[in-house]
Amino acid sequence: MFRSSPIIRWRKYDERYNLVGAKCEKCGKLYYPKVALCSCGSAKFAPHKFKGEGTLVSFTEVSSGPEAFAEHSPYCLGIVQLAEGPRITAQLADCKLEDLKIGMPLIASFRKFYTSGEKGSIHYGTKFVPKW
C-alpha cells in the first residue's frame, strides 16, 4: 500500500532524477544516496550532483520481479560504481543479459520505474544504459 504513495517517492525526486547525493563538508567524502553521518564523524553535508557516469561492478537478470515490476520482467539489475566513487544499485535499461560485462562503462538515463496501477502515480528515476 505504501508503494502506491506518491509522497514516499516525491521526497526523493532530486535524489533520483538528478543523482543528487551528499558531500561531507569536513572531509569531502561523497555519498549516494546521502547519509546521516560521515565516516569521519561529521554530520554536516552539502548536496552533490553526480555526473551520471559509471562502470558495472556486477549484474544479474531478474526473471520475475515483484508485483510492482511484474510487467517489466525480465529486467537487468546491477551494482554501478559511479565515476566519483560511490556504488549504487541500479536497473540497467535498453540491454539484454548477453550485452553486459563486468567493468563496462555506463551512462545515466531518465526512465520510468513503475506505475501504481491504472489510476495511480507513475514513478520515475535514473537507470543506467551501456555507454554508446
Partner: protein, 348 residues
C-alpha cells in the same frame, strides 16, 4: 527589441524499432506496397520504461548541453504531446524537477495534435522576446498509439525534440526571423477523452487538412518575409508519412535536396509532436553557419506553425555537444510484433 532565437536544441529517439514487414506479416498485407505507399521502412517504439515524460527529459537535457546553461536559467517550460502520461498533471512539471529549473518557472503542457510542440516554441519565443523571461524551453514529444490492424500502425512512433529560446546574440545558434500560424477548425483527425485510439476522416486528411494548412502557412510566410523557396538551404514539413512532405515541397516549389536532411520519417516513423521538430533538429545537426531553414509543422484539428531560422557560427560549435539526431536514429534494435504490443501496453 532584441531578436530571439534558439540557443540550444536536443533530440531523443528510443532504441527500439519495428519493421514494416513485421507488421505486414501479422495482418497479411503486402509489405512492399505499404513501404512504397507510405515511404516508411520502419518506426521507433518506446522501451518498456520510456514514455513522453522520459523522452522529454532526455531531449531537454541534450538541449541544455548545447545551450551550455544550467537548468535553473530556464524561465518557462512548455511541453506539447498527444500522449502525456497523465491527463491531469503536466509533463512540464516533471521536466522542471529533472533539469532542476527551480520554483521560479512558468510551465504548462500544450495540445494541438502534432503541432503541440511547435506551438510551445511560439509561446517561448513570445516570452523571451518580450523580456518576461531570459530562456524558454519548448518540447515536442510523443509515444503515439495505434489500434492493431489500423494503417497508423505503420507510422505512429515515439520520439521528441527540445528547443531553448534566448535573446543573447552571442548565444544564438539559429535566429528566429519570423513565426506565424495558419489555423482553422478542420475535423480531419481527433481523439475523444476516453477513447483509446484516435479516429480520422480518411482521404479528408489530405487536401483540406494537411496540404491546405501546410501550404497556407508556408505561402503566408514566404509572402510576409518577401522570400522565395530557393532562398532556403533546408525545408522541414510535418511528416505523417514519407510522401506528404515530398508532395508539399513539390507544390510549394522546394526541392528534394532542400527536404532530404530533415526527412527522418522514413526510418523512425511519425513521432507526432516530435515530427517536424526532430526534422529541424536533424537539420541543425548538419547545417553550417549562415544558412536559412524553413519549418512548417502541422497539427490535426487543424493548424500549421511556420518558422524561418537563420543559422549562426555558434551552431557549428555546439552540434557535437550532445548526441545528434542521426546517432539516435542509427542506434536501433528490432522487435517482434508481440514484443511491440507488449511495449505499447505499458503506456496505455
Amino acid at each position: 527589441m532584441q531578436n530571439v532565437g534558439l540557443v540550444g536544441y536536443g533530440s531523443y529517439v528510443p532504441k527500439w524499432r519495428i519493421k514494416a514487414e513485421t507488421i505486414a506479416e501479422v495482418w497479411g498485407e503486402n509489405a512492399e506496397r505499404i513501404k512504397n505507399g507510405l515511404g516508411i521502412l520502419e518506426k521507433s517504439l518506446p522501451a518498456k520504461d520510456e514514455d513522453t515524460i522520459t523522452i522529454s527529459v532526455q531531449a531537454a537535457r541534450n538541449a541544455l548541453l548545447r545551450a551550455g546553461i544550467a537548468g535553473s536559467k530556464i524561465g518557462a517550460i512548455f511541453v506539447g504531446s498527444e500522449s502525456h502520461p497523465y491527463a491531469v498533471k503536466p509533463t512540464a512539471a516533471t521536466v522542471i524537477d529533472a533539469i532542476q529549473a527551480g520554483f521560479d518557472t512558468m510551465a504548462a503542457d500544450t495540445e494541438f495534435a502534432c503541432k503541440a510542440g511547435s506551438a510551445a516554441i511560439q509561446m517561448c519565443a513570445g516570452l523571451v522576446k518580450s523580456e518576461m523571461i531570459d530562456y524558454g524551453l519548448a518540447i515536442g514529444a510523443d509515444t503515439s498509439q495505434s489500434a492493431p490492424g489500423n494503417a497508423l500502425e505503420y507510422s505512429a512512433s515515439a520520439g521528441g525534440a527540445a528547443f531553448i529560446l534566448g535573446r543573447e546574440k552571442k548565444e544564438i545558434v539559429a535566429e528566429l526571423e519570423r513565426t506565424l500560424s495558419f489555423t482553422s477548425d478542420t475535423p480531419d483527425f481527433w481523439r475523444r477523452g476516453l477513447a483509446e485510439h484516435p479516429e480520422h476522416a480518411g482521404r479528408f486528411t489530405g487536401e483540406p487538412a494537411y496540404f491546405k494548412h501546410i501550404l497556407g502557412a508556408t505561402q503566408m510566410m514566404l509572402e510576409q518575409s518577401k522570400a522565395k523557396p530557393s532562398d532556403f538551404d533546408f525545408v522541414v514539413f510535418h511528416m505523417p508519412n514519407g510522401k506528404f512532405p515530398i508532395q508539399a515541397a513539390k507544390k510549394l516549389g522546394f526541392s528534394m535536396e532542400q527536404l532530404k536532411s530533415g526527412l527522418v520519417v522514413e526510418r523512425i516513423g511519425n513521432t507526432y509532436s516530435g515530427s517536424s521538430l526532430l526534422g529541424l533538429s536533424a537539420v541543425l545537426d548538419i547545417a553550417k553557419a549562415g544558412q536559412k531553414i524553413l519549418v512548417t509543422s502541422y497539427g490535426s484539428g487543424a493548424g500549421s506553425d511556420s518558422f524561418i531560422f537563420n543559422t549562426t557560427k555558434r551552431l557549428e560549435e555546439v552540434q557535437s555537444k550532445a548526441k545528434k539526431t542521426e546517432e539516435y536514429i542509427a542506434r536501433k534494435e528490432y522487435v517482434s510484433y508481440a514484443r511491440y504490443r507488449q511495449h505499447m501496453e505499458m503506456i496505455m
